[in-house]
């Protein structure tokens, strides 16, 4: 056991750094620096650069377009992209439906969808939650009825992130009402341009349009777009959630966040001392940093287990719980740091306003980011559900 990077690892790190410096889209960098809202093409611009390089899906098996990197190289990759403030790629294709398709899909599904996920040609969204099926996901009621070679899908999904941009969605639908809840669910890939689909925005507390309602009214979906067997969709759903939870910890980006927090707290003055010299604030930063180190090593242990052939199991719930709590704590402390200047609401200014900044630039998004981050302990299976998973699957209670 050791933490040392080999000469090859160090060379890889240099290569990654040089690549990011050279290839990260300049317009995207500019918008990030200004704190502007990112559009679909902004997300896609970095995705496409990576796709061209062959680095867009490091976690995938090589045969489907993965990089074949060692776990150390993947660690370096996430560290370096966070360090350079690269945006996080949309996970719905790359981290969610992609692995489901290459694990459970037919040869035709793999051949059609996987290359388009890699290239960014298809933008994906996730049709899981419903108004009446949140934590109790298996009680979902959106139904799919067979009609010849198709299913007709009717129902309502909600909290569908970025559905307003999506070309395709993966949906959990009920195909059998007469069996145990989990046993009557199927996993469908649905073209979001199909007739009968309507996407309605939901605006969240920071003023952002991230999530949507998706209404489906007799939407025709070919049976060939079902992944895995009929009524076995819950298997795909659980597999996807376990994979999602590993990535959800966000260790590298939280590390970058703590670094930024400390840098600001060191220059932000409170009387004649910096905020970081205030023993009460400093203690909170220290404890956050320590919790994050513990999470980082927990993730490293999980990744080492995966490298040794273990699938991420219910233990990934530990990563989700701690990772989300730490992300929230980071936004709390940033907002505390902003003081009075947490209050100005920049969305109220309308488009094209050049008068700001009011207050410090880092403080501009402190409150909206804090409000937005309340989602982290709710999504991906709320943290209470994660505790149920641990109790049942790990502790056998």
């Amino acid at each position: 056991m050791n933490l040392d990077f080999s000469a090859e690892d160090l060379a890889f790190r240099d290569e990654v750094r040089a690549f990011i410096a050279e290839s990260y889209p300049a317009s995207l960098r500019g918008k990030q620096d200004e704190g502007d809202e990112l559009a679909k093409e902004d997300f896609l611009s970095w995705h496409q650069v990576l796709a061209k390089k062959g680095w867009v899906a490091p976690a995938w098996p090589v045969e489907y377009g993965g990089t074949g990197w060692s776990s150390t190289q993947r660690y370096i990759w996430s560290e370096e992209t966070a360090r350079a403030d690269c945006i996080r790629l949309m996970p719905f294709g790359l981290a969610m439906v992609g692995p489901v398709i290459y694990t459970f899909g037919t040869p035709e599904q793999k051949a059609h969808f996987l290359p388009r996920i890699l290239s960014g040609e298809d933008w994906w969204c996730q049709g899981y939650s419903e108004p009446g099926a949140g934590s109790d996901l298996a009680s979902l009621r959106t139904k799919a009825v067979r009609d010849g070679d198709d299913y007709l899908v009717t129902g309502q999904k909600t909290w569908t992130t970025m559905a307003q941009h999506a070309d395709w969605g993966f949906f959990l639908v009920r195909t059998d009402n007469d069996v145990k809840m989990q046993e009557g669910i199927s996993f469908l890939l649905i073209d979001m341009k199909s007739p009968g689909i309507e996407v309605r925005p939901i605006i969240t507390l920071g003023g952002e349009h991230e999530v949507n309602e998706v209404w489906l009214d007799n939407v025709r979906v070919p049976i060939s777009n079902r992944v895995y067997e009929e009524n076995k969709g819950w298997t795909c759903a659980k597999f996807l959630l376990a994979h999602e939870r590993v990535g959800i910890a966000g260790v590298a980006s939280s590390k970058r966040g703590v670094e930024k927090l400390k840098a600001v707290a060191m220059t932000e003055m409170e009387g004649d001392r910096s905020l970081l010299a205030n023993p009460f604030f400093r203690r909170k930063v220290a404890e956050l940093e320590i919790d994050l180190a513990a999470l980082e090593y927990t993730e490293l242990r999980t990744l080492a287990g995966m490298a040794a052939g273990k699938n991420p199991g219910p233990e990934s719930s530990v990563l989700k719980i701690k990772g989300s709590e730490i992300q929230q704590r980071l936004t709390e402390l940033t907002l505390e740091m902003a003081g009075h200047y947490g209050a100005p609401y920049f969305r109220g200014f309308g488009e094209g306003d050049n008068e700001h900044p009011i207050g410090q630039e880092w403080a501009n998004r402190a409150a909206p980011t804090y409000f937005n981050a309340r989602k982290t302990t709710i999504y991906g299976g709320s943290n209470e559900i994660q505790r149920n998973v641990i109790a049942k699957m790990v502790l056998g209670l």
């Binding site: 999470l295 490293l300 080492a304």
Partner: protein, 376 residues
Amino acid sequence: MDLSTTETQGMLRDTLSRFLADTYTFDARQKMIASPEGRDPGIWRALSSELGLTCAPFSEELGGMGGGAIENQIMMEEFGKVIAIEPWLQTVVAGGGALVAAGGPLAEATIPAIIAGDCVIAFAYAEPQGRYNLADIGTTAKKDGAGYVLNGHKGVVYAAPWATHLLVTARTGGGRRERDGVELFLVDAKAKGISRRDYPTVDGFRASEVYFENVAIPGEALLSGGIDLIERVADECTVAVCAEATGISRAMLAQTVEYTGQRKQFGVPIGKFQVLQHRMADMLVEAEQIASMALMGTLRLDAEKDARKAAVSMVKAKVAKSIRFIGQSAVQTHGGIGITMELAIGHYFKRATMIEGQFGSADHHLERFEALTYTA
């Protein structure tokens, strides 16, 4: 970067784990503690000369198996699972670690004796007034010809009643709390002028107040390295008790889960109640954080001095808080039976609680971490 263990390390764990499962049942442990000596010396004999485990963390030149901190981590974790009261921390981690770091003829002579099981060491670093400051030392070591003369009082020296040697911090110069002038000595526990008041500790060990009155020791007893060496040894010990904490936490969780499956109230096993399930899930989360921190500490012991100290303080600050949560939750979940001497869980809780403060509390380590990291 590589977090896998070797086959030899796996065998080491298995061997110790099997041995402890046979010898360290809860009843056997309570008998050892109640005996006049407060331990079963046959177990130390078995660990060293019979099973050869004492050689695991030492280099091959010194008669060891070429291991180090990772081997100590494995041993301490397994000891934690049965709340063993063996003087591994004091003898192998502190004594062995100090000797390896200092090197020289004393190390070459003493380490083989540790491996053989003939040398048992107690680490006499604390003093009544010093709290967790390793440099707050009133014990003096006055140069006297080629040797030194020791005078002073060392407090709560775990395993001192069992020790053949004492690893003592003392001042050769400088004023109280000054870093300069603090040195480390390995002293024959039977040297003339040493007296002890022995007592049991709440967590099952034996310890002593140790008094030095004009104790003449040879010049070779000095392990040169000063306060830097002492801090290094204390850091190695800190990480070792965090590894012990890993074993203790997992055992407390497992016992709590088992108990809640048996204990019935309102007609059902209490483990069916979600409020208890979530508490136990949180115990698991914290136990995993302890395991992660013990690993981080182990792997960071070789880092440059300040980086090592910062990392070890992160580790101890987290472990102290997490193990308090796990211990208190385990007792609460057991209910009244959890605060009796009858069940093992309370005894795990007592050792866990002493680990919180051993080699520095959470507050002490947070402060050291902040001082090293946040130069604002």
